[in-house]
């Protein structure tokens, strides 16, 4: 039973890592590449590390792996946000995407 759970979690983690890599290669724009790269990686790391916690069977090693998960979940979105900001403030990128201002639309309900 435990082995099956470990197998499912590890396979899911590897699948999301694979999807992130494919997205990094296939998508055409810097911003969309950031989408595929950072998020799939975060979920993949969570699933793989949970499988390792089950494999280790608790104890101090499991607690250390939980610290690794917390650290990755705080730092990965922050690093992604910094990269996206560095790309967004470049002057040659102004006006590439259409901008929707939600502050007026929000009063009317749905778009």
């Amino acid at each position: 039973m435990k082995n099956i759970l470990i197998f499912i979690l590890m396979a899911g983690g590897l699948f999301f890592f694979f999807v992130g890599t494919i997205g990094l290669l296939r998508l055409k724009d810097v911003m969309t590449r950031i989408h595929s790269a950072a998020k799939c990686d975060t979920l993949g790391a969570l699933l793989c590390t949970t499988a390792l916690i089950l494999y280790s069977g608790g104890g101090f090693v499991g607690l250390k792996l939980i610290i690794v998960i917390v650290f990755l979940w705080i730092t990965n979105p922050t690093a992604t946000h910094l990269i996206a900001k560095a790309e967004h403030v470049q002057p040659e990128n102004a006006g590439i995407y259409e901008t929707i201002d939600m502050n007026e639309v929000k009063k009317d309900g749905d778009i």
């Binding site: 999807v19 101090f60 979105p77 996206a84 967004h88 929707i100 639309v105």
Partner: protein, 156 residues
């Protein structure tokens, strides 16, 4: 509530030290108390001193569960977009305002939006978020955000 936040950091440092040491005895415990008190004393101006309340802890746990569920569901949909033969992406940038007051909750909201696939926080100026969307279908979920409602409940 300032009294609460002043003793929670040394306790967290002590727990971190005990986990790193991998054993529990009196010697390790005493060294840990000294080191965590010293670390807290030298960094007391850098650590956030918001009004963290212990009785709000169940709501934070609920938030974590909601975040996990949303991440798994939305990651599967992004995997569908990436693996489909012709990727129909329609990127656009959305500006929206948030009603949250405290800086910590704003940072949590921005990181949650980044982690929920399809949306990515680009910039956060005062109370205005600039969000990049992968597909336009994600925008309604962004406006009526469950995360913001729960965070407002925690704050209020």
């Amino acid at each position: 509530m300032k009294k609460n936040s002043s003793f929670i950091w040394p306790v967290l440092f002590l727990l971190f030290w005990l986990i790193l040491c991998e054993k529990l005895n009196a010697e390790v415990f005493m060294i840990g108390i000294v080191i965590s008190a010293a670390v807290y004393y030298f960094n007391r101006n850098l650590l956030p001193t918001g009004n963290f309340r212990i009785r709000k802890l169940p709501l934070y746990a609920l938030y974590l569960l909601l975040l996990l569920k949303e991440i798994i569901l939305a990651n599967i949909s992004v995997a569908g977009i990436v693996l489909s033969p012709k990727m129909n992406v329609s990127p656009c940038i959305v500006r929206l305002k948030t009603q949250l007051k405290s800086k910590l909750h704003r940072a949590i909201l921005a990181n949650s939006i980044t982690l929920t696939p399809g949306t990515l926080t680009v910039q956060f100026i005062e109370d205005e978020l600039i969000v990049h969307c992968l597909v336009k279908a994600y925008i309604p979920g962004l406006i009526h955000s469950k995360f913001e409602k729960l965070l407002l409940k925690i704050e209020g």
